[in-house]
């Protein structure tokens, strides 16, 4: 009798589609998880996958069920839709990829269901995550009055304590921030919204202000509404103000920096107002992971480049966000924590030292005629590169020839570039100037108008203990000195060159990134 009943039940279970589906959820989810997620998040969901040590922020430990992206109050579990959003879109600015295009709808739903099995909080029936009531965005959010109100509350709430007065993550409390597992964490640079974990729009920012980013120092501000410290509209204004700090659209990489020709003197001061009228080119930087010691937590995420020439000399302004003017002992706490966290296979024990911030601009010693370019990672024995190297302390720039990362021979200062720098609330702005032609034609690049000149960038943040091979870098791009003639007539050779070289390079970049990821995943 009993056996019969069980048998019937078994048959029922196996034919009932809903039951079968939920039974499959987590088993199928496990298969997806083991294949795609465990390398970072660990087989047991503890965040200790084989690749975990090479990333900051570290992959999430799912056993605690603490999530950054939610529509629920601080301290509550996320909804299924919240988890799906993180899985679909990834967490920008971290190693967490977007899975929407890589996994099917079913796979993503199943893996989400499987994630939840790692924490008993999800099966605890006393947990009732409640959706926060979000108001809708008030209009006029880009107007001067709205931004003024937003800024006023940014100040009165004291966001600057962590994010700094200009929002670049350089506030007085910033060096001492850590996440719940105790790892160093940086207050977001509010000028780089494309790297926000929870999305770039004013709506995303408003939501993250309401919920907080659980597991991090970034708190929830919902109580301020309940307590009437501010109104819904005012909180929206804060979000809109924060949104206004980043460019209207996420920056896109353009391969060729055009240096316009101007008449008269070049702006040599980093804060010369002339720079505001010069086209700005964005280049993302990545950690150096080819040569040991490799570096997986590069501090400088991107660099902006502007260039002008006057037929006789060239001026290049480089702008990058860096939370500290290194060396700065105020950041020692951060440096120490970072060194402990990122101690990796190949770097050996590190001790604290007053490292400066550094920047290098790299060219080939001669403008290449064809496809040949020196090795982008600072040249090699057989092919040197010509570099301008600037450092924050002792402040100054030199020119030299590099033959690989370890060999740099400075050239006599006579024809080296002049450099002027300012550090302003979490941002370096450095202007290099040099004559187009120099006496030492054998070693020093002779800039020529109308040619595609390969250029690459390297950056080090002293407070992140970056030096030597621990750096952020770009691949080769191009610099083109324009002629005062109408662009159409001369640009075509440059374009032609870029189309051939540039496409090849894009492939290289992609391959490098992929390799980088693979290297990271391999450990």
């Amino acid at each position: 009798m009993r056996v019969g009943l069980i048998g019937a039940l078994a048959v029922f279970l196996s034919v009932s589609p809903t039951v079968r589906l939920s039974a499959q959820d987590t088993t199928a989810g496990k298969t997806v998880y083991v294949k795609w997620c465990a390398g970072c998040h660990g087989e047991t969901g503890d965040g200790k996958g084989v690749a975990a040590l090479y990333m900051l922020p570290r992959p999430r430990d799912f056993t605690g069920a603490v999530y950054k992206i939610r529509t629920t109050a601080s301290g509550q579990l996320p909804t299924d839709a919240d988890l799906m959003r993180a899985i679909d879109e990834g967490l920008p600015g971290t190693a967490m990829p977007a899975w929407q295009t890589r996994l099917s709808d079913g796979e993503r739903r199943n893996v989400m269901a499987y994630l939840k099995t790692f924490s008993s909080f999800f099966s605890d029936t006393s947990q009732h995550p409640q959706l926060l009531k979000f108001s809708s965005e008030p209009g006029g959010g880009t107007g001067a009055e709205a931004l003024r109100v937003g800024r006023q509350f940014y100040d009165s709430i004291h966001c600057y304590k962590c994010h700094g007065p200009q929002g670049r993550g350089d506030g007085p409390s910033a060096p001492d921030l850590k996440d719940d597992p105790g790892q160093p964490i940086l207050a977001a640079d509010l000028h780089e919204n494309w790297r926000f974990r929870g999305g770039a729009t004013a709506e995303d920012i408003y939501r993250q202000l309401r919920t907080g980013l659980d597991g991090t120092p970034m708190p929830s501000f919902s109580d301020l509404l309940d307590q009437k410290f501010l109104t819904e509209e005012q909180l929206w204004r804060v979000a809109q103000y924060v949104r206004s700090l980043s460019p209207p659209k996420a920056p896109e990489v353009r391969d060729v920096i055009h240096a316009r020709q101007i008449a008269g003197t070049l702006p040599v001061s980093p804060d010369d107002s002339a720079w505001s009228r010069v086209d700005d080119y964005y280049f993302p930087l990545v950690g150096q992971i080819i040569r040991k010691p490799r570096w997986f937590a590069p501090a400088v995420a991107a660099i902006w480049v502007q260039a002008l020439h006057n037929g006789n000399a060239i001026a290049v302004r480089l702008t990058w966000d860096d939370r500290s003017q290194s060396p700065d002992t105020g950041w020692n706490k951060y440096t120490r924590r970072l060194l402990q966290t990122m101690a990796s296979d190949d770097s050996g024990p590190q001790t604290l030292a007053p490292w400066p911030d550094q920047l290098a601009v790299q060219f080939p010693p001669k403008i290449p005629e064809g496809m040949e370019r020196p090795y982008f990672l600072m040249g090699s024995n057989s092919g040197s590169v010509y570099q301008w190297r600037w450092r924050s302390a002792p402040r100054g720039a030199v020119a030299g020839l590099a033959r690989g990362i370890d060999r740099f021979d400075t050239l006599p200062p006579a024809s080296g570039p002049a450099a002027r720098a300012v550090w302003d609330h979490g941002q370096w702005r450095v202007v290099f100037t040099r004559t187009l032609a120099t006496a030492d034609t054998a070693n020093e690049l002779q800039f020529a108008v109308g040619r595609a000149i390969p250029v690459a960038f390297f950056a080090w943040d002293g407070s992140s203990a970056e030096r030597d091979t621990r750096m952020a870098l770009s691949t080769w791009y191009f610099l083109a000195l324009d002629q005062p003639t109408p662009p159409g007539t001369f640009i075509s050779p440059v374009i032609a060159m870029v189309v051939t070289l540039g496409l090849g390079m894009l492939v290289v970049v992609r391959a490098q990134r992929r390799d980088g990821r693979r290297a990271a995943a391999r450990g």
Partner: protein, 243 residues
């Protein structure tokens, strides 16, 4: 026998509740008391000096440079900020009512007051900001959901009670990295925290044999076993030794 015990426990609990919340408030007439001192032996380490230069409002509240009171040894050789509680020995099925009054934690002078305290499961936590400058308060529970809320002005936020027993549950402020507090979250009211005289007192206990545990943020735990009869008062001193 067991039944009797638990009935007594419930009775004691009810009495505590009837008399208004605070554990052991001149409680149960037949309730037993365990009391004692938490002694400290050895040389106390120097507490780190706090650099409050970024917070003029807080710095102004001190005449001498403030220190992070990690090890606070009293003049009488006892240790403050030790959480003392009944770890085992209570009837398994006993239920104790949740006090209606909240436990208050105040952010004053960029420090938490109290630094170490007990709270019952479900009991409201009133988070007060007397400083009027930005604090965020982050609960770093493992058994309880961690939360992180901000208070940029003078205000009090009532947080609904914690759901699970957790000894201890740390609190931190990220704006002021030196601010730390610790709560013992228990499902019963038999706990106490030492102050400037280093003494503790746990009242209203039903007769029985108890493991009393003392917890200190730096020195870990010490335990004592105590058997009490109805209405009896017993002394159990605990000692921490400098490391």
């Amino acid at each position: 026998m067991r039944k009797l015990g638990s009935a007594a426990a419930i009775g004691a609990g009810l009495l505590v509740w009837a008399l208004g919340s605070t554990p052991g408030a001149e409680a149960a007439l037949d309730g037993a008391t365990v009391t004692g001192k938490v002694k400290f032996v050895g040389k106390a380490p120097a507490n780190p000096v706090i650099d409050m230069s970024e917070e003029a409002k807080c710095a102004a509240k001190y005449t001498t440079p403030p220190r992070e009171l990690i090890v606070q040894v009293n003049a009488n050789g006892t240790l403050a900020n030790v959480f003392v509680y009944v770890k085992t020995g209570l009837p398994a099925d006993a239920k104790y009512p949740t006090p209606a009054t909240p436990v208050e934690i105040d952010q004053n002078g960029c420090m938490y007051h109290p630094r170490v305290f007990g709270i019952m499961v479900g009991q409201t936590l009133a988070i007060k900001n007397s400083d009027g400058i930005l604090h965020n308060i982050k609960a770093l529970g493992k058994k309880n959901r961690p939360f992180n809320i901000s208070q940029p002005t003078t205000m009090t936020t009532n947080r609904p009670g914690f759901a699970a027993v957790e000894v201890m549950l740390p609190f931190a402020c990220n704006v002021h990295g030196w601010m730390h507090a610790f709560a013992g979250v228990l499902s019963h009211p038999f706990y106490s925290a030492t102050g400037t005289d280093g003494s503790y007192s746990i009242k209203g206990l039903p007769p029985g044999t108890y493991t009393i545990e003392a917890w200190h943020e730096k020195y870990g735990t010490q335990t004592a076993t105590v058997t009490v009869k109805a209405a009896e008062t017993k002394t159990a001193d605990l000692t921490f030794t400098a490391k």
